[in-house]
């Protein structure tokens, strides 16, 4: 087998870009020098964009890697692009070197053999990652097997303006009752925006007595019965929403703007530190705070993956590794900058590195890890695809 592989390698036309073994880190950094990495990442948040720009400055300084942020509105666009390139036979130097990814998009790319790897667990900084305490080896129940590397932990929180809604609401049922008593003061981003679909998932998980069925793929047999409580809930909630559900904010940031404008009092967020960062950026009133549901909320990790046809996979690995560094992780967790949860294990860090994290204040609107409470698992991606489609036909053309 081995000989065959070597033979094939010798017979194949000279590859334009020799890929370096991820385990050979010196080789990776040497090859990365001078490469340009096109990181396709959701570009809808200025704080995130600023962080990515900072990462670019740091990897240019330390490794001579140029990082270009290609700002996406929807990660699925990048998946489509890589798929189209594969169909067009562009196998050596595609336009995308790295994607901010998770969930259904990762599952689709891994399934279609569109990813480079395995590489994640060979990166030097993988040694610091909290493999036992955080879900960084499965992604929405799909095994990762080294095809993407984690860089941030996220958990659903609800942002409320305490000037108008003083007390946290402990369950989806409580949110419904509050919305019925205060019509027009709540909305969520319009699915298929990821935050909008997250709201639907969170509602379903909270409404079910036993959400374990969601960890297996949805089937034609169980889909209707399992999701029935969600549609009952939404039928009751929608008329009480902002604009009676006849219009929705298009994205998470547009939804935050509605709080700042005093149009709504409650919004969903997938980042426990987002409210604090937004207050610092004048995007939310200083009275904004966050809460989680009594039964806990959905959490997941954000990853980066490298397409199989990246011509700068070494540069991308350097960036992926830097994202897992204590320096980058501490900056991402700084509530004034990004407020993303770290993927690192504090016990694995040196005393100096641990001090970086200890020095961080939580931020005025950020819950402590203890207050964030139980993290619920993401449902299998198949649920979300069907629920988003059903939402569009039930409420997306409702007028």
């Amino acid at each position: 087998m081995k000989h065959l592989a070597i033979l094939a390698a010798l017979l194949a036309p000279v590859p334009a870009f020799a890929e370096t073994d991820p385990a050979n880190w010196d080789g990776v950094t040497a090859a990365a020098q001078g490469q340009t990495v096109y990181w396709n990442a959701w570009g809808g948040s200025t704080t995130t964009n600023d962080f990515i720009a900072w990462v670019g400055a740091r990897v240019a300084e330390d490794y001579g890697v140029t990082l270009e942020h290609v700002k996406l509105t929807d990660t699925a666009d990048a998946v489509t692009r890589v798929l189209s390139e594969k169909q067009a036979g562009e196998d050596d130097d595609g336009a995308i070197d790295m994607i901010w990814i998770n969930g259904a998009n990762f599952a689709a790319m891994k399934d279609a053999d569109l990813l480079f790897g395995p590489y994640a667990e060979q990166l030097p900084n993988w040694a610091f990652v909290d493999v036992d305490g955080k879900t960084v080896q499965t992604d929405f129940t799909v095994p990762i097997e080294g095809y993407e590397s984690p860089w941030a932990m996220a958990q659903v929180v609800f942002i409320h303006d305490t000037a108008d809604l003083a007390e946290p609401l402990g369950s989806m049922q409580a949110i419904l009752e509050w919305s019925q008593a205060n019509p027009g003061r709540f909305t969520y981003p319009q699915p298929p925006d990821f935050l909008g679909t997250t709201f639907l998932k969170q509602a379903l998980v909270d409404l079910l007595d036993d959400a374990s069925v969601l960890s297996e793929p949805a089937t034609d047999e169980n889909y209707d019965a399992v999701t029935a409580p969600l549609w009952t809930y939404l039928d009751a909630l929608t008329p009480t929403l902002w604009r009676a559900g006849r219009a929705y904010p298009t994205t998470g940031p547009a939804q935050l703007q509605l709080i700042a404008d005093g149009e709504v009092d409650l919004a969903i967020s997938f980042s426990p530190g987002e409210a604090t960062a937004a207050i610092a950026n004048n995007q939310l009133p200083s009275t904004a705070r966050t809460f989680v549901l009594d039964k806990g909320t959905i959490g997941n990790a954000s990853f980066v993956a490298i397409p199989y046809n990246s011509g700068s996979s070494e540069g991308a690995m350097v960036v992926a590794n830097f994202l897992m560094s204590p320096e980058a992780q501490a900056r991402a967790q700084d509530p004034e900058i990004l407020g993303y949860g770290t993927v690192l294990n504090m016990d694995a860090l040196s005393a100096d590195d641990r001090a970086r994290f200890d020095a961080l204040e939580l931020g005025v609107a950020t819950l402590s890890p203890a207050e964030l409470g139980a993290v619920q698992a993401e449902p299998h991606p198949s649920w979300m695809t069907r629920i988003a489609d059903d939402w569009a036909s039930r409420y997306g053309v409702a007028q």
Binding site: D77, D164, A247, T250, A260, E263, G396
Partner: protein
């Protein structure tokens, strides 16, 4: 005069440049609309894309929105421009309005749309200026103004951008219609300003500006950026939905998008035919109206209303730009404060460098396109 031998080639090149991409695009739409998209592993022919399209529950409203917003925006902006010109051309208010409107032509549609949204939303600037003192609103009312079901805000957003365009076109046409002498004679016969102009000058001006009006109609029916910002989204107008289908990660959705695009083309052609028939009807009743000899009793009222509408559309864009400028320097700006808590350069510092790059590329593309278009046009006229 020495003739250049390359000159006769220019009209042919122009035709190729104009029609080539359109034909290629049409082929690239028709094939997938009938199920043929080999790049995604799909081969036709098949009617499935049209079946999917007509199965989409949002289609009737999306198509209706495209038609109503297009026809309304075109007819209202045309009426404003014609009546303002009829009532005021040659006067000082007209010159002021002309000077006010001309630069607005260069304001991008999306910027005007954002400005309008920031002005008239329930939490917009107009509402803030009068709250809570006059309105009693401590919190913005839950009113569906922006993204309204019938696309009226979107229509308004289109009107304020089409009025400057049609006005400039009309001014160019006026020079070729001998308007001044016609109106002098009409007034000597006792006709009011507006009525006299409509009865003598309008038919000739309209014949001149007909193609640009068709352009406005086709554009308004298929616009995407204004519709995304100001239009409804449950469901959106057909053009927006087509863009969504086309960018769906599921490549098979492109077939439905292509079918939708052909339907959109059909709607535009249908609306143009409808408009052409409308011209015949208007001409028929117009002739009868001319024959009645009515001199125009309500002319002053009509002229004033038209001037207010024209000035209003200019002011909406201008104030929209002002409020955009304020937002760009704003610190936290909650409702119902008329102005932000503080002013800061933070937003400009943040996006400044990227904006400069984009500005450079925009200018490069614009200059190149304008230069090539100018050469081709002059070349065609010369040969």
């Amino acid at each position: 005069m020495k003739t250049n031998r390359a000159l006769p080639l220019l009209p042919i090149i122009t035709l190729l440049v104009m029609l080539g991409p359109v034909i290629a695009g049409l082929v690239g739409t028709i094939l997938p609309a009938f199920g043929h998209l080999p790049a995604a592993g799909l081969t036709g022919p098949s009617l499935a894309p049209f079946r999917d399209l007509f199965d989409w529950a949002g289609l009737p409203r999306a198509a209706l929105l495209s038609i109503t917003t297009g026809l309304l925006a075109t007819s209202i902006s045309l009426a404003i421009v014609m009546l303002v010109t009829a009532g005021w051309s040659g006067t000082k208010p007209f010159r002021t309005l002309e000077r006010l409107l001309s630069p607005l032509l260069s304001v991008p549609h999306a910027a005007a749309a954002f400005g309008l949204a920031f002005l008239i939303a329930p939490s917009g600037w107009v509402s803030r200026l009068f709250s809570p003192v006059l309105t009693g609103w401590d919190r913005p009312p839950d009113l569906l103004i922006v993204q309204d079901t019938w696309g009226l805000t979107m229509t308004l957003g289109l009107i304020v951008k089409e009025v400057p365009f049609l006005l400039l076109i009309t001014l160019a046409a006026l020079g070729q219609t001998d308007a001044k002498r016609s109106i002098t004679i009409a007034q000597a016969l006792g006709y009011g300003r507006v009525t006299g102009w409509l009865k003598t000058v309008f038919p000739r001006v309209y014949a001149q500006i007909r193609p640009p009006i068709y352009v406005v109609l086709a554009y308004s029916m298929s616009v995407v950026d204004v519709a995304v910002i100001l239009g409804p989204n449950t469901p959106p107008s057909l053009s927006v939905q087509i863009v969504k289908w086309m960018s769906d990660p599921d490549l098979a959705m492109r077939l439905e998008g292509a079918a939708g695009a052909l339907l959109q083309l059909g709607l535009v052609v249908g609306a143009l035919v409808f408009w052409r028939l409308g011209e015949v009807v208007v001409a028929h009743f117009g002739r009868k109206w001319i024959a009645t000899g009515a001199r125009g009793r309500f002319d002053p009222v009509v002229a004033n209303v038209a001037l207010i509408a024209g000035a209003g559309s200019a002011l909406i864009v201008l104030f929209g730009i002002v409020v955009l400028a304020i937002w760009s320097f704003a610190g936290f700006w909650g409702f119902p404060d008329a102005f932000p808590d503080e002013f800061t350069l933070r937003n400009w510092m943040r996006v400044g460098p990227g904006t400069l790059d984009a500005l450079y590329e925009t200018a490069l593309i614009a200059c190149t396109a304008a230069f090539i278009a100018l050469i081709l046009t002059i070349g065609c006229l010369e040969s």
